[in-house]
Symmetry: C2
Subunit: 442 residues, 2 copies
């Protein structure tokens, strides 16, 4: 068992700097904060008040943003559910876990491999209680079950709520089948709150991947027709109310200052909602397929009201939270994620030179802080391979200047294009060609 | 030969109303205005200054908008080139001309049918000189040639500028092959200006379908690196300068007050550019595939600085321009377009109860002034048929309230959904199942 380490010196220095500017931030930061990681399902970047939503109200998330940090260039590690979650929990590009071929369907007989090291696993090893309350979607065979991957406790569903046979489980026990779509949102929030309320002196990691707002959108009775944005808006508002419930539980347990709360999403908006200024959405390769909100609050450590545009991806959460929790990532584990605790604390610069974006198991785009080089796109029902010599038409976008993928700058920026192509080639050598699990019907 | 009629009384009344508010609008409107119809190729809705462009400058189009009317809910009749142009010139949904199967490729041996009645044809019959300067793309067989479809004169290219063998023609004579991509934009504008300068007393119809900004974007030397938006922005700015050249020619000929100038585009933005708030783009079925800018100036008739959100489509141009020109549409011709001269003059209400949007030869969406009911969509490389009983998931969007396709309101608005389904069924009965021409490789 690894003993929780002290908060790293660099972080502590940043914290002290922040604390000097904030009289309310008295007291030492805890060595091993509780971590509440809320992962929405298909939430649009633009459907959060703090990100400009006009028709959906999210006061709980907005309040976390006001009390903490808001990321404007944070990305899911895939444009669909399963691989994105694999990336988040392993800190590695999802292709490494062989889960980038497709989302896991009910008939699939594979899942997260037994040898995978997860965020839950390293936090558990560092002395945390580890709970998952919500949607797993990394396999529903015995060896892929969340309790085999670092979680002490599982309460939730095995895969997406639009799939056949989706059932509610407590650990290995099926307690409802099919799930009550209208009740699931409140049940998850209440279960999360219950666990927090019952927590003792040991630090806890609550991973709360919500069922909202993935289709079908069935709000609870109290939220039906509450929003100006249809059933999608209703379930986003219900999800936000669930976040408020969890935050109240943290406060009720007197653990506000020792708890880091993070809210993000698993991929960009699907059919409903707004991708903000980004182009495209779920399952596509434009930035809107991957761009997600992320807000984080840790009173006394993260300064309030900060916005960062530093480039980051959900694969960064494992090394970052490991740092903050004093947990140890095995030294021989090849990580793609980086420690972005500096960004959490308001620093501007990302540790990433570049990030890779996949469609299935192939790289679709390379992103730096300023540029996005897009090499696989779709027009109507045709996938157009911009690396194909027959269709050589490199797409290079200046995100920093134009705000999104608007104008192809490839011809005007040959040196940038060269550098991006080198990054792409390096990424392809390392990350393409890894055999992926596939659904039986593939 | 049909003698040009007087400007219709209702229009004259509107004109007089407008003229009362504008001292500069003295004099009678001409009975048969010259018509300059400029059709951009793949121009993004959001890439015109008057429509919010931030990185592309279009002072000529903006100036037309200031002096005339700007449409905010104007649509191409297809999400790709060939069928959109068929709709524009015939006033009918492109399926009726059997050109909705695909765009016309160089090897195709079909085109606009000999029996089709075009806008050029009815204007010619009404006494107009009729010229096309630019991209035809309605067939390059002898019988499909523009001079067989109502145009006295053709100067331009037979199909898209990214296709093999694209050549410059004067009437039937090939004068350059392949075209000089950097020179074509100025050549078209200058040819249009030349024709206007040489025009006599007869009214003229100049149809000017530009080669810009369709890929490849090769600006003339004077425009290279002029914009902040890459080669795409450069060719949009060069196209705009070409429009300025044409407008100067009108002024130089002393025909400003007797000339109606219209600028629009053939479909939404393709790879480059902005669809404004709309979702998607060219070849897709979201509104961004069809939404295009339209500005129109006719000093003394169209009041200046007006914006209309009245629903309209390029199939409306034939009946509208027929009205304004006193030309006659054959009484036995089934038209889908409506006379929207009221919208040109600033009225708010569209004569359309609904408009249909196609992908290929199948209806993808039905639109009313407020609602958009979307029944065929694409997710990554899969086309998802929302009419398929196995995937019944009606998508109903409240465009008026939300500004674009954001939130599915189908469950909340069962009565609206019913009405839209009825409209869809009526449209399917009349407009689906018409055999379409196909490229040989289909």
């Amino acid at each position: 068992m690894h003993k929780p380490a002290l908060v790293p010196l660099a972080l502590l220095a940043l914290w002290l700097g922040a604390a000097q500017g904030n009289a309310a931030a008295a007291g030492d930061p805890p060595e091993s904060p509780n971590i509440v990681l809320i992962l929405a399902d298909d939430l649009g970047y633009g459907d959060v008040g703090a990100y400009g939503a006009r028709f959906v109200r999210t006061p709980a998330i907005d309040s976390l943003a006001q009390q903490g940090v808001r990321f404007t260039q944070f990305f899911a590690s895939a444009n669909v559910c399963t691989p994105s979650r694999a990336g988040l929990l392993t800190g590695r590009y999802p292709v490494r876990s062989r889960l980038a071929g497709d989302v896991i369907f009910p008939e699939a007989e594979y899942g997260l491999g037994e040898g995978e090291v997860t965020l839950a696993g390293i936090l558990k090893a560092a002395g945390y209680d580890t709970w998952i309350v919500g949607k797993w979607h990394l396999g529903h065979t015995a060896s892929a079950w969340p309790t085999r991957h670092g979680f002490d406790y599982f309460f939730g569903i095995q895969y997406s709520n639009d799939m056949e046979g989706v059932a509610l489980f407590r650990n290995q026990e099926q307690i409802e089948n099919p799930i009550d779509q209208a009740a699931i949102h409140a049940r998850l929030a209440n279960e999360g709150a219950r666990l927090i309320g019952a927590s003792g002196d040991r630090p806890f990691f609550l991973y709360l991947p919500t069922v909202a707002p993935h289709y079908p959108n069935v709000p609870g009775a109290a939220f039906r027709n509450r929003s100006a944005a249809g059933p999608y808006g209703d379930v986003v508002e219900e999800m936000d109310a669930g976040i408020a419930t969890v935050i109240e539980a943290i406060e009720g347990a007197g653990k506000t200052r020792e708890t880091l709360v993070i809210v993000t999403s698993d991929n960009g908006r699907a059919w409903d909602g707004s991708a903000g200024a980004a182009r495209g959405g779920k399952a596509g390769t434009w930035e809107g397929g991957y761009l997600v909100p992320l807000v984080a609050r840790w009173p006394g450590v993260i300064p309030p009201g900060v916005t960062t545009s530093g480039l980051s991806m959900n694969i960064d959460l494992m090394p970052t939270l490991a740092t903050l929790a004093g947990a140890r990532v095995p030294a021989d584990l090849k990580m793609d994620g980086r420690d972005v605790s500096g960004l959490l604390l308001g620093a501007a610069d990302s540790p990433h030179e570049a990030l890779y974006f996949f469609t299935g198991d192939r790289i679709a785009a390379v992103r730096t802080q300023r540029w996005r080089y897009l090499v696989r796109t779709f027009m109507q029902v045709w996938e157009i391979d911009h690396l194909d010599p027959g269709y050589r038409h490199p797409l290079l976008y200046d995100i920093k200047t134009h705000g999104s993928e608007l104008f192809n700058m490839a011809e005007k920026e040959p040196e940038v294009l060269n550098r991006m192509q080198s990054l792409l080639e390096a990424g392809r050598r390392e990350l393409e060609g890894i055999p992926q699990h596939r659904s039986a019907w593939d």
